[in-house]
């Protein structure tokens, strides 16, 4: 059996001690309660403080639980906040790629479309906000499965239906695609969900590098591919957009 890591155990004990009531504790109280040398206790407290789990009162020098600890349990990114932040970047992606843009998040066993920008031609199009897409075959779904562990297990546990001859359904093949997605930083769907339709998507991360969604373009396979390959400038445009939205999320508070 693997040995436990002593400093982590001590850090956990400190957090429990500080959580034991509405109180602030001094260094010597903490050290003596846990039977630690002051220097050892101080080192651990300083690390916890840097991570935001512990805060030190300026006046008294006493320690209390930090705001980051509260944030850990409660924060998630509101999908409508995600849409608001993505709006300008996704407009620009549609404009530069000439294709329609979708923004998706994990919802139950699939991808929920939370934002959709029309292809910039004059054709009649219907807003698809609120629609669901499969995790295992779409570019958005593959990105979420590759980066979000919850999406990954949902995709593995769900029935992976073959929509076309090209849909990858077996677990090994699917895992291989996810490895490839992580290595390249984007996922593709070339006629794996709909005949004649291709898509490229990339991950959106929040300020703590957590995957919060995926953004991608979808269009006719003839337009997205050239000489049998997805056009590299389209892939670059999708990844630029995903990075820009991620940057925007990192800049603000949520």
């Amino acid at each position: 059996m693997a040995r436990n890591i002593q400093s982590l155990e001590r850090a956990a004990a400190m957090l429990r001690l500080l959580a034991g009531g509405e109180r602030r504790l001094g260094l010597s109280d903490i050290a003596s309660s846990l039977g630690l040398a002051k220097g050892t206790a101080h080192g651990i407290l300083r690390t916890l403080q840097q991570e935001g789990f512990v805060e030190q009162d300026d006046a008294s020098g006493r320690y209390q639980l930090g705001a980051e600890l509260l944030r850990l349990g409660t924060t998630y990114l509101d999908v409508h906040e995600l849409r608001a932040r993505a709006l300008v970047w996704t407009d620009d992606l549609a404009r530069s790629s000439g294709e329609s843009v979708y923004l998706g998040v994990l919802h139950q066993q699939g991808v929920l479309i939370v934002h959709h920008v029309f292809r910039p031609d004059d054709s009649r199009q219907v807003l698809e906000i609120g629609a669901m897409q499969p995790l295992h075959s779409t570019a958005l779904g593959k990105v979420l499965s590759a980066y979000d562990p919850v999406a990954h297990s949902e995709a593995l546990e769900s029935e992976r239906k073959a929509f076309t001859d090209r849909t990858v359904c077996d677990p090994d093949g699917f895992e291989h695609i996810l490895d490839l997605t992580r290595a390249r930083g984007y996922a593709a769907d070339v006629e794996e969900t709909w005949e004649g339709v291709a898509a490229v998507a990339a991950p959106i991360h929040d300020r703590r590098r957590m995957p919060v969604g995926a953004v991608g373009i979808t269009g006719a396979v003839e337009r997205l591919r050239r000489d049998g390959e997805l056009r590299p400038e389209l892939i670059a445009a999708v990844r630029d957009c995903a990075r820009a939205v991620s940057r925007d999320l990192g800049a603000g508070r949520f």
């Binding site: 509101d78 999908v79 709006l87 790629s97 920008v117 029309f118």
Partner: protein, 512 residues
């Protein structure tokens, strides 16, 4: 794929706004190449008073123009023209010999001219000049603000009568400085800005001497009224003279009119609505000056060069985005503005609750200053989620009321509504809007319609774009919401809303 904006030439647009000044460089497709922005100080000397330091604004304008050009990595040869859009009605007076403002600019929101406006109404009331100017006597407009300055700055009246003082809205101030200032700067304004002074006659498109005299503004200090899209002069002197000297200054449009232009509402009946803190809805009425009997403003939409002017009807809603902010900051029911949609979507409907945010009275089409806000239809069933729905529905119903007023005045049915502004990211609001209007709601691909409008007008003036058809071809639909609500439900809900509106009236007593 139209990739990186390597290929010029470009058009620059200045947006001199209420809280900040911005400059955006656009390419021929109307795509944004670079942006620079700087906020300026809001000065509140007394309750109800709002001022800006016009010198600070001019410094910021120079900085953001230089900043945007630098970020785009281009030079004066790449820029074909520069256009201007601006906060409307904000008024500055300055000395033509020194270029120094004689006082801080008085901002459109400033209410210090309330009493003056009542006095100017004499026995006729606030519609005394409406037939000529299209506007009611209200504290927003520039003419009475200029009169206040003449009355309250020592010796100013004499200097003005001697011809040493110049009047301007922010377009005039920026253009005069851009084109050389004391060294031959052009003292001009455009028809849209002039239409917000209460001094211009909509029928002649010239200063109305009788009204100027009644308000007490000497004609000598007024700028020349020009079209919205023509070359007023060239950039000359100062910091920008070195960087961009010789570039034509080729458009001016008030911000809401610029948004109308940027949304390419060039045909009669086409309407745009900008959803921000408040909401401004403007309908193109073609060559018709429509007198409003429903409390809307009659104004100039735009005028391109020596073509005929295009008129517009305008209605504003005081509280829209700010109601969502109120739910966040004062009620604490949500932590970000976007969360209002999440909360509202957790229920199917408003649960019977209606929220009329008449925080400072009812505006168009009612104009009742004795009204105050009401949440009606409360039962124990109602949750905060139902109130979130009611908040979004309030914006949609108020839009419907203005749309109805526009139809009543103009006889033109709203075929579709073009929307822009921050609240267009709220999908539920946009769908509700379409449901309540029973018309499609369309969002364009360029969010910066105000700056784009100024760029378009400047580009037309110098032949960068050939016609409004070119500009229409640039317009791209990013999203469209179509009505899904059945007529019976809509009518029933509208009736309930109107009942709630009635409940707000007469709350304040002893109103004048």
């Amino acid at each position: 794929m139209t990739d990186a904006h390597t290929a010029g030439p470009f058009i620059a647009a200045i947006d001199q706004g209420t809280t900040s000044s911005r400059c955006i460089v656009f390419d021929r497709d109307g795509r944004i190449v670079s942006v620079d922005q700087k906020e300026h100080e809001q000065i509140f000397p007394k309750p109800g008073w709002v001022e800006h330091d016009a010198t600070e604004i001019w410094t910021n304008v120079q900085e953001v123009v230089a900043g945007a050009v630098e970020k785009a990595g281009i030079t004066r040869d790449d820029i074909k023209a520069i256009g201007i859009t601006n906060q409307r009605e904000t008024t500055v007076l300055w000395d033509r010999n020194t270029g120094e403002p004689v006082h801080n600019a008085i901002v459109w929101q400033d209410t210090r001219t309330d009493a003056l406006c009542r006095e100017l109404g004499r026995n006729v009331g606030q519609d005394r000049f409406r037939r000529e100017t299209g506007l009611p006597l209200a504290s927003y407009f520039a003419g009475p603000k200029a009169r206040w300055l003449l009355d309250n700055v020592d010796g100013l009246k004499e200097r003005a009568e001697a011809g040493d003082i110049l009047f301007g809205t922010m377009d005039t101030w920026v253009i005069w400085n851009l084109t050389g200032g004391t060294d031959g700067g052009r003292h001009v304004t455009d028809v849209t800005n002039a239409s917000r002074t209460m001094l211009m006659n909509l029928h002649t498109m010239q200063w109305d001497e009788r009204i100027a005299e009644s308000i007490g503004v000497p004609a000598a200090m007024l700028p020349e009224i020009r079209s919205s899209a023509e070359v007023y002069g060239e950039i000359k002197g100062g910091r920008l003279g070195e960087l961009l000297g010789g570039i034509p200054v080729a458009s001016a449009l008030g911000d809401q009119q610029a948004a109308l232009f940027g949304q390419t509402c060039f045909a009669e009946g086409e309407t745009k609505s900008t959803y921000g803190t408040g909401t401004f809805m403007v309908m193109n009425t073609g060559d018709k000056i429509i007198n409003s009997y429903s409390g809307l403003l009659t104004t100039v939409g735009y005028q391109i060069g020596d073509q005929k002017p295009v008129y517009a009807l305008e209605g504003s809603i005081a509280v829209t985005g700010s109601l969502v902010q109120w739910m966040r900051d004062q009620m604490g029911l949500i932590s970000t503005a976007a969360e209002i949609e999440t909360l509202a979507l957790s229920v199917e409907d408003n649960g019977g609750a209606y929220f009329v945010p008449a925080f400072s009275g009812l505006f168009a089409p009612y104009w009742r200053s004795d009204a105050r806000g009401v949440i009606a239809g409360l039962t124990r069933y109602v949750t905060k989620a139902h109130l979130a729905r009611a908040v979004l529905e309030a914006t949609a119903w108020q839009t419907r009321e203005i749309a109805d007023a526009m139809t009543k005045d103009s006889g033109v049915e709203l075929a579709a509504l073009k929307v822009d502004g921050g609240m267009t990211s709220n999908n539920l609001l946009m769908q509700t809007l379409s449901d309540f209007l029973d018309a499609p709601v369309v969002r364009p691909m360029v969010a910066e319609t105000t700056c784009l409008g100024a760029a378009y007008a400047a580009g037309l003036a110098v032949g960068f774009w050939n016609s409004t058809d070119d500009l229409r071809a640039n317009w791209r639909r990013a999203a469209e919401w179509t009505p899904r609500m059945d007529a019976e439900t809509r009518d029933r809900e509208y009736k309930s809303w109107l009942k709630a509106v009635e409940r707000t009236m007469g709350w304040l007593e002893d109103e004048e």
